[in-house]
């Protein structure tokens, strides 16, 4: 019993702490770590990678290595070895041909395809067609180019396979140049500062955040106040309606906006009555829809908070305003709004930060388009840079650098939140002391 008592807190805290640490706390730090790397889909993520590519050769040619060696690196040799023979046996060459190659040419190395073909001609069961000879050459060709090696040892073996033996000094040079794995860098940050796109995206983000904020905080206030002055049945109904977008899966909610705005959708139909040609309105006014879609969702949270803040104003205070001669609009302006200054400030801050960091709805609605970067905001750009783009090269490191800014915003947001709670009360000491 005593044992359980001692380990109970650990037992209760450990699983949760572990998973939160692993998938929440560490990623926060790792975002910073990754932002100082050149990681991308080209460099891979794990360990080192050695590749002699076209680019490697070019770099080596410009260096002070022996030109013959560089040519050798770039070359191909044709070595009839067990691996090549195994491939030939699986091919549709006649077994007799393969057998003779194995018997007569095994272990031979040819410096060019011409020499290999000449040797093949000397066989009695020789491959007849050019296609067949090509097949043999393909099976036995050895080249360093574009082969991936994960350790220096493998790389050395690879060099040996095309007959290159080098001194350790030369090998180190080769290793250095051929290493395409990611490196530590501060270049992401300087690139971020220098890039023109940064400013474009920053401007987009500011535009999006400010307008959506006005839209959704304003709407939330209107909803909270209007429903406050309504019979309770109606106000319940409207509040329930406004919460629907919030509880709906984002994919469905955005699909409905796309339906509303596409050329065969609701808007085009209604506008048709006024003689307006059907259009894909989302493409015509992308920002309008981005702001509305986000605003309609965001309004619900403000609505709930504001509604409870209005209800929290003592009924007598409003009665007093009434008998003092204030009509509903004057009550709102002179009593209710000033009394709600704090909730309004809170919602505004909270929404600002959360609009800055979220990208789900824009991703689904316009994916940053139409066209180039029209509605691309910071968070979406981080996602595109690191995880999904048309160019195919996913720049994890640079994406993480963009995300660092967002994580910083997130930390600011959490700290603000923390200030709102009476922390001392939350950590009140347990009353059973052992």
């Amino acid at each position: 019993m005593r044992g359980i008592r001692r380990f109970l807190p650990a037992l209760f805290m450990l699983p949760a702490s572990l998973s939160v640490t692993l998938f929440f706390v560490i990623p926060v730090f790792m975002t910073f770590v990754f932002s100082f790397t050149t990681m991308s889909s080209d460099t891979g993520i794990l360990g080192s990678r050695y590749i002699v590519s076209e680019a490697t050769i070019r770099t080596l040619k410009d260096g002070d290595l022996d030109a013959a060696l560089v040519r050798q690196l770039d070359s191909r040799v044709f070595a009839v070895n067990e691996a090549g023979l195994a491939a030939l046996r699986k091919s549709n060459l006649k077994p007799t041909v393969v057998k003779e190659i194995e018997e007569k040419l095994s272990g031979k190395v040819y410096a060019s395809e011409k020499q290999l073909f000449a040797a093949l001609k000397g066989l009695s069961n020789r491959p007849r067609s050019f296609k067949d000879r090509k097949m043999v050459s393909k099976a036995v060709v050895q080249t360093l180019k574009n082969r991936e090696f994960t350790t220096p040892k493998e790389f050395r073996a690879g060099l040996a396979s095309i007959g290159i033996e080098v001194t350790d000094d030369v090998f180190d040079v080769l290793l250095e140049v051929a290493n395409t794995s990611w490196k530590w860098t501060t270049g992401n940050y300087s690139e971020l500062m220098a890039s023109d796109f940064t400013w474009k995206i920053l401007a987009n983000t500011a535009f999006y955040v400010v307008l959506t904020l006005f839209f959704n905080v304003g709407l939330a206030l209107v909803l909270a106040l209007v429903t406050f002055y309504m019979p309770s049945g109606q106000s319940k109904f409207f509040r329930a309606v406004w919460l629907i977008p919030r509880v709906s899966p984002s994919v469905i909610y955005i699909m409905l906006w796309r339906w509303l705005s596409f050329d065969g959708g609701f808007m085009s139909y209604i506008l048709g009555f006024f003689g307006v040609q059907p259009e894909n309105w989302l493409n015509e006014f992308p920002w309008t829809f981005v702001i509305m879609a986000n605003g309609f969702v965001g309004a619900s949270m403000g609505m709930i908070i504001f509604a409870s803040a209005v209800v929290a104003i003592p009924a007598d205070v409003l009665h007093a305003a009434e008998v003092d001669g204030a009509y509903p609009w004057q009550q709102v302006r002179r009593i209710i709004l000033p009394l709600m200054a704090w909730p309004i400030l809170f919602i505004t801050t909270y929404q600002t930060l959360s609009l800055m960091t979220s990208f789900e709805y824009i991703l689904l609605l316009t994916d940053g388009g139409p066209g180039f970067f029209t509605t691309e905001v910071w968070a979406l750009n981080a996602y595109h840079t690191a995880l999904s783009n048309y160019y195919g090269n996913l720049r994890y490191g640079f994406g993480a650098t963009l995300a660092v800014v967002l994580v910083a915003v997130g930390i600011a947001m959490s700290l603000i939140y923390l200030r709102l709670f009476d922390f001392k009360k939350l950590v009140a000491e347990p009353q059973i002391e052992n």
Partner: protein, 352 residues
């Protein structure tokens, strides 16, 4: 200005709170709506100022029908139980609020607010926020705000309930003074009979949505119309005992009181069930009509001593006497009742 309620009814959904209430309050008069909680007194007040809509009946201010007027269009000052000060405005702005809404000129507002502050002795508080004021100070601000635009009617909903005992005493006379000075017709809602009696010209005692009796504090105490009023007014409360009429007397075990002439023959007949109500100050050793029993409880209040006297039949009477304690618990005593000052009630609860 006279306020008149005619057949006023108020329901919340299916629940009838007030039914057919008639009440007239004279010009410059201050009337108390007194009653236990839930009797409909606050509801009546809210209907007069227009916060509640009237279900049926009429409300008149002088000869103007204000039944359907929203509160904004009535010139009524209200002091709420919670004071309902605007927490985000300074004392000055709180008092100025009704004037600002009315769009008075800046100079006018300043003059009137300062005048009000003078009347209520709170010039030095004008810059503070309601949160920085004591209960009594908040009370004054609420009163100032209600009075600043010279209302025709002043309504107060339990204005002293949130104050401590000493302040309550002080504010009672203060409110009365200001009401007299301003000369506005006033309604005071309270559950405290002392407040009602000490502050108002007349009292309307309410129970279960109906007015039981309207009259001066004296009337209420000495001439209650029914058992409820007799029981509600008076502290320590009156004692009741059930009995029968026999030979022109009220009889119960251990007590026999001769009925006064005015009701002897006409109002009651022999054998009828009636009850008697005896206020504690009319039961003392030196009164004539004898009463016998055992002392079952004694409470010393300092200046006075309270005795519970239990008769043989189990009926309990209370006596209050000044001076020192004259007997102990368990003593059998024979004291007297002042038969001229007791009330008799019929089976329907009305005074005979």
């Amino acid at each position: 200005m006279e306020i008149r309620l005619e057949k006023f009814c108020k329901s919340f959904g299916p629940v009838k709170v007030i039914e057919d209430l008639d009440l007239t309050i004279g010009d410059c008069e201050m009337i108390a709506l007194l009653g236990p909680s839930g009797c409909g007194k606050t509801t009546t007040l809210y209907a007069v100022c227009g916060i509640h809509r009237v279900t049926s009946g009429r409300i008149w201010f002088g000869d103007k029908d204000v039944t359907a007027l929203p509160p904004q269009e009535k010139n009524v000052g209200v002091v709420f139980q919670s004071f309902a000060l605007y927490p985000h405005l300074s004392v000055y702005e709180n008092i100025a609020f009704p004037l600002r809404i009315r769009k008075d000129s800046r100079a006018d507002i300043e003059r009137k607010v300062n005048e009000m502050a003078g009347v209520l002795h709170m010039e030095e508080l004008l810059d503070r926020r309601p949160g920085q004021l004591s209960g009594g100070q908040q009370q004054r601000v609420a009163l100032a705000r209600a009075l600043v635009r010279r209302p025709e009617v002043l309504l107060m909903d339990e204005p002293l309930a949130n104050l401590d005992a000493g302040l309550r005493l002080e504010m009672r006379s203060e409110i009365r003074r200001i009401q007299r000075e301003s000369g506005c017709t006033s309604i005071l809602v309270t559950h405290d009979q002392v407040e009602a009696m000490s502050m108002c010209d007349r009292i309307a005692l309410m129970n279960e949505g109906k007015i039981q009796q309207i009259g001066s504090p004296d009337d209420m105490y000495h001439r209650p119309e029914n058992k409820f009023i007799a029981g509600f007014i008076g502290n320590p409360p009156i004692s009741f005992a059930d009995g029968k009429v026999e030979d022109g007397c009220f009889v119960t075990e251990g007590l026999r009181i001769e009925l006064p002439d005015r009701i002897k023959g006409a109002a009651v007949s022999a054998g009828q069930n009636i009850s008697v109500g005896v206020r504690p100050e009319y039961l003392r050793p030196d009164f004539a009509t004898p009463i016998e029993g055992e002392i079952t409880f004694i409470e010393t209040q300092g200046r006075e001593v309270l005795y519970d006297l239990t008769l043989a039949g189990g009926q309990v009477f209370r006596s209050i006497q000044s001076g020192e304690q004259v007997c102990g618990v368990g003593d059998r005593i024979r004291w007297g009742i002042d038969a001229d000052s007791v009330f008799f009630f019929g089976e329907d609860g009305n005074r005979i």
